[in-house]
Symmetry: C2
Subunit: 406 residues, 2 copies
Amino acid sequence: MKAEVISIGTELLLGEITDLNAAYLASQLPLLGLDLHFISTVGDNRQRLIETLNRSWQRSDIIITTGGLGPTEDDITREAIADFFGEPISIDQSLVAQFKELFRHFNMDMPESNIKQASIIPSCEVIPNPRGTAPGWWVEKNGKFIIAMPGPPGEMQQMWTNVVAPKIQEKFCDAIIYSSTLKTFGLSEAKLGEITRDFLLAKNPTVGIYAKPDGIHLRVAAKAGSATDAKMLVENTVAELRKLVGEYVWGTDTDTLEGMVANLFKNKKLSLSTMEVGTGGILANNITNFSDSLTFYKCGIVLSRSELGKEFGIDENVISQYGPVSTEAAKEMASVVRRQYGTSVGVGLIGIMETGEPEYKMGTIIIGIDDGKHCHALKRIYPGTRLQIKQRAAVAALFELRKIMQ
Amino acid sequence: MKAEVISIGTELLLGEITDLNAAYLASQLPLLGLDLHFISTVGDNRQRLIETLNRSWQRSDIIITTGGLGPTEDDITREAIADFFGEPISIDQSLVAQFKELFRHFNMDMPESNIKQASIIPSCEVIPNPRGTAPGWWVEKNGKFIIAMPGPPGEMQQMWTNVVAPKIQEKFCDAIIYSSTLKTFGLSEAKLGEITRDFLLAKNPTVGIYAKPDGIHLRVAAKAGSATDAKMLVENTVAELRKLVGEYVWGTDTDTLEGMVANLFKNKKLSLSTMEVGTGGILANNITNFSDSLTFYKCGIVLSRSELGKEFGIDENVISQYGPVSTEAAKEMASVVRRQYGTSVGVGLIGIMETGEPEYKMGTIIIGIDDGKHCHALKRIYPGTRLQIKQRAAVAALFELRKIMQ
């Protein structure tokens, strides 16, 4: 089956918004055995969209559109599809009632303009959108399909995962590609590339290296006649890669570092508190990105300077003897929050995010971890901008925490 | 001048990575009066890249490539350009020395594979990359150009802003499009669309509405024969939009909410502390994304539950009388951190991020602000996922803080 993606929105052509949806769909289609042949971007222009639909309809089996389902004048996807098929548009009153209920939940009146989003045509099947007021359309004619989904990536992905992908799979699935990702931290992209060089040159499975905010990812992808064969090819390569760089691997596929740490703490029924100096709460924020994290993560202290630490019980002698940017200071921070807030584990994180402190190198990160038995500490220097260093500080702290807690 | 963008990397075709660079360049080219006619995506395949370069060279004046300048085997942009022009590749030893110095700074040995990144050809001019080991190439032949830049968006944008864009502007600038963005918070996209309907339908300037993590943006763009005329068109429309929705506008163009707040605090020589319950430090983290924020932002307390607040001086009677999720509790938090840590202003932020608390609606956000004279508070309920609600809580708190401090 030939698939085609059309991203709709003038904001994409002006570069005002990044097309996350085409990339997402590109990653999902091979899993369903669909070949993505074209990605087109069209502005909010009804005539040009109709022309694009016409060209796509001639050369492809499945056309997936994203965007243009909003409530404003420039949202023209529904109108263009209706015109393309020569079908009349009507308003679905049950959808209008759903929208009104949604607005009521948030104590708001529904603006009149939202009614437009309840438009339907005779051949369309409505795809529910639990996250907003832009339902999708599934249109099937002569064995070909147009599937229209909303532009906001959260709404589109939800709709894709829960309705569209399962429905496509049910209709025509001859899945061929299987992939798995190993997530590493602690080696540079170049170093990892050197170690895994032979795998990077191989054809099936292919291995790709990608630098991501949470470390370097190794993506292994294999093609085979059956899903089982493809999976086996991938698993063999993954096992060999683990032999080479296993100590740097912290997770796979949909794993997140905060999720790995959260599960360790929840399974062992442990609790956590943190104190950060200079990193502005990035560690607290990352930990609490994981749903349910507040059950084990009790308390975080975010300080601009270590001098303020004495208010929270930090021993000033440690700071004056070893300096505020020292492994001893990070350990003291970890121990103090652990003791003070009665948690099983305490973490101290110190980061130098500004260039204005000549005695310390910008990018210096010190992590202290007190697990009640031992007090660990390590120091790193990371390159990058302020935001990159902040993010790496949190990733490094979570990576170490995971290693120690295992 | 006709421009063309080529995004290079198999990871883009597999959807493993999102093409942020094409969107960024699409937004930048009109400002230089360049027309972007094509965006192509090519995998890490030398032959296919040479073919693409060949086609682009025939139809366009400026070809801008991103990606494929890394140290690994699959990075083939340099090789493809060299092949396309039939020029030999050599290693620039001064670049190698720079790389070694960079690695030394981070106490690391330079892997051998990085040497490949010091490749040059006779017609290329090297574009420095202060953020990494992938220098760019500027190649000029017969009045046409190939400009090769690295794939990581931070490195590419830095190179674009500091070297490539100024150089293009110097060579051939007949700038025509001018644009400006108004950033709003507090109105829904549909509501804002209704109020500004007449502007959304207008042709020059055009006005677009975009939902962003920090609120809803209105982008005004005008075309004119001269930059002055285009700017005047935009400014007139911006002034009229401000009359309609000015109270919701918090900034323009490159403004960030944390930057607006930081500048207010720094100009007035004030200091800030915060206490968060349930929002996991997102406010502390957002404030400290702004460089230099640690000079005014003293201290943040991040708690999982308000019961822990008593450790930090919260009056338990307030909590038991009004409840932990109340405007009174948020005000008490604001006042306590302000007093306790001796700052001019204190903020208390309460958020319900989990569905497991039936007595409170998920998405409930309460903000308390004590500026020393008054203690303000407000309550909102936001839709969305955990991460969206966290982000909106921080944006709402920063928006209120800015309003009160002005």
